[in-house]
């Protein structure tokens, strides 16, 4: 499920809310949809909180490979 994109999970959460709010589902299905919605809410929240704060420079080597270097902001500007 980790491969799921944030947009996909958000869309599925929205779908679950809409289906449940329509009130036309049998109880059994309602529970399934609810569980699915809660699952995607959790995924969305996790993705939003995944912290990967990095600012790097992509430097191309002569052989065409890439090296990442830490970007040091020039505070003079």
């Amino acid at each position: 499920m980790a491969a799921e994109k944030f947009e996909t999970s958000l869309k599925k959460l929205e779908d679950a809310v809409n289906r449940l709010e329509s009130g036309e589902l049998p109880l059994e299905d309602s529970l399934k949809v609810f569980e699915e919605g809660i699952k995607h809410a959790a995924i969305c929240s996790r993705k939003l909180n995944e912290a990967e704060k990095r600012v790097e420079l992509l430097v191309k080597q002569r052989d065409g490979s890439f090296v990442r270097e830490e970007f040091i902001a020039d505070d003079d500007l």
């Binding site: 994109k5 944030f6 947009e7 958000l10 959460l13 929205e14 679950a16 809310v17 449940l20 709010e21 009130g23 589902l25 109880l27 309602s30 529970l31 609810f34 919605g37 809660i38 809410a41 969305c44 929240s45 993705k47 939003l48 909180n49 995944e50 912290a51 990967e52 704060k53 990095r54 600012v55 790097e56 420079l57 992509l58 430097v59 191309k60 890439f66 990442r68 970007f71 902001a73 020039d74 500007l77």
Partner: protein, 459 residues
């Protein structure tokens, strides 16, 4: 110059050379304006054209090196301002302007170049709305193609950090103006496409003059943006500046800061969206459960006094059973009757029964037939005996029994009644009462009647 002092004779080449010297010395750096005609650009890359106005024409040539530096493409009919030096093309004796620079009259050269490229790429479909890719809602890795030193990169990093703390930002450092800038920008866009995980690319720089921003008007940059698999946001200069890159990009941001804002929706906003959705989800589920519970309560209430209900149900069952039995009995009787009737019909028409009756009829007919035939035969037999008896009494043959003979003459078997019918040697057939013989006549003589009773002659 003492050429005119004495009569000195020059060759054509000498004179031409002299003229060229004069021209090149005195018209080393001239600006001319006129309209282009007879433009030709052979594969050598040089450019040949004539500049003219209402009264005169000037042959011009521009060599490949200078042509390459041009940002627009001259065309017939275009009004140009050109700079160059005069020279002579010896072989033809023509003088011509060796053009080093040109710009369109009226609009600036860059302006014209911009319009020409925009028109060309537009026709090719590089700006098509339907090819523009949507931006991801929550990009994990953002590629930025810009100068690592400059206000633009700081602005973008600030905005990105403010809107969402946990982002991976990958900066592809490039020159954003001057020689080679366009090529570097295009290469960086390609590199970020090759680097895995990049969700969106911002290409941009801060404000500047049209010359400063020019790299973003170069075809190579436009094509790199168009070819990018990752969505590209352009962010060049200030709000008023439009570049070719802006037209090709999937989204145009008016400034680098704005680009950063467009690329990352505020984390706070996204969190609010998600929690709002989750709240609605729980609420809807709660309502659904309440409805279900209500339904159960209602059912329970109507189940009050279950025994009564059960009794009523039993009664109903009994009633139905009875009615069912009666109905079944009736139809059974009816069917039984039907069956009997059919059986009778069947028996009467059964083939066995018919065969038996036919056989009886046949025997009866046989009986009747044989009786009648017997009677008829008896009558016939009786008639026959009577007739035979009568016939016998009349038969000449009966006389034969008493010793008479019937004589027939052979070979015709004619009955002999007179001796005159015979002569010696005739062959005779004699019929006696119990057989037949033949004989031969020896003699013939008439005799008296009294001889009649004597035995017949021999032979």
């Amino acid at each position: 110059m003492n050429l005119f002092a004495e009569k000195k004779i020059l060759t054509v080449s000498q004179l031409t050379s002299l003229v060229r010297g004069v021209l090149e010395e005195n018209f080393e750096h001239v600006w001319v304006e006129g309209e282009v005609s007879n433009l030709s650009s052979p594969s050598s890359g040089h450019l040949y054209f004539t500049l003219k106005d209402g009264g005169a024409a000037l042959r011009c040539v521009m060599f490949r090196g200078s042509v390459k530096a041009l940002r627009f493409r001259p065309a017939d009919g275009m009004k140009l301002i050109v700079r160059g030096r005069l020279t002579v093309y010896d072989q033809r004796g023509d003088y011509q302007l060796l053009t080093e620079y040109m710009e369109p009259q009226g609009v600036g050269a860059l302006q014209l170049a911009f319009q020409q490229l925009k028109e060309r790429l537009g026709k090719e479909g590089l700006f098509a709305e339907e090819l523009k890719k949507p931006l991801p809602l929550l990009p994990r890795t953002i590629g930025i193609v810009t100068s690592p030193t400059g206000a633009a990169v700081h602005d973008m990093l600030n905005v990105l950090a403010r809107r969402h703390a946990g982002l991976h930002i990958l900066i592809a450092p490039v020159k954003v103006q001057g020689e080679g800038a366009a090529a570097e920008i295009a290469a960086a866009i390609k590199d970020l496409n090759l680097y895995p995980g990049v969700d969106v690319i911002i290409v941009g720089r801060g404000g500047g003059s049209i010359e400063d921003l020019w790299a973003f008007n170069e075809e190579v940059v436009a094509r790199a943006i168009f070819a990018s698999r990752v969505p590209v946001v352009s962010a060049v200069g200030h709000e008023v500046d439009f570049t070719i890159a802006d037209f090709v990009a999937d989204l145009r941001a008016p400034t680098p800061s704005a680009a950063a804002e467009l690329v990352v929706a505020s984390k706070a906003q996204l969190v609010a969206d998600c929690t709002g959705l989750e709240r609605r989800l729980r609420l809807a589920m709660g309502q659904r459960l309440a409805t279900a519970r209500g339904g159960v309560l209602l059912a329970q209430r109507s189940l009050k006094g279950p025994e009564l209900v059960i009794t009523r149900l039993w009664q109903r069952v009994d009633e139905l059973t009875q009615r069912g039995d009666a109905a079944v009995g009736q139809s059974l009787a009816h069917f039984r009757h039907e069956l009997r009737h059919r059986q009778t019909l069947l028996q009467h028409n059964a083939p066995l029964y018919r065969i038996r009756s036919l056989r009886e009829r046949l025997a009866h007919l046989e009986l009747r037939g044989s009786g009648a035939v017997g009677k008829a035969l008896g009558a016939c037999r009786a008639g026959l005996s009577e007739r035979v008896a009568r016939l016998e009494s009349l038969s000449p043959l009966a006389v034969l029994g008493r010793g008479f003979v019937v004589v027939e003459k052979l070979p015709a078997r004619r009955i002999v009644k007179s001796i005159r019918q015979l002569k010696p040697g005739d062959r005779l057939r004699l019929r006696l009462s119990d057989g037949v013989t033949t004989c031969c006549v020896e003699t013939v003589s008439a005799q008296e009647l009294e001889m009649l009773d004597s035995p017949s002659p021999r032979g």
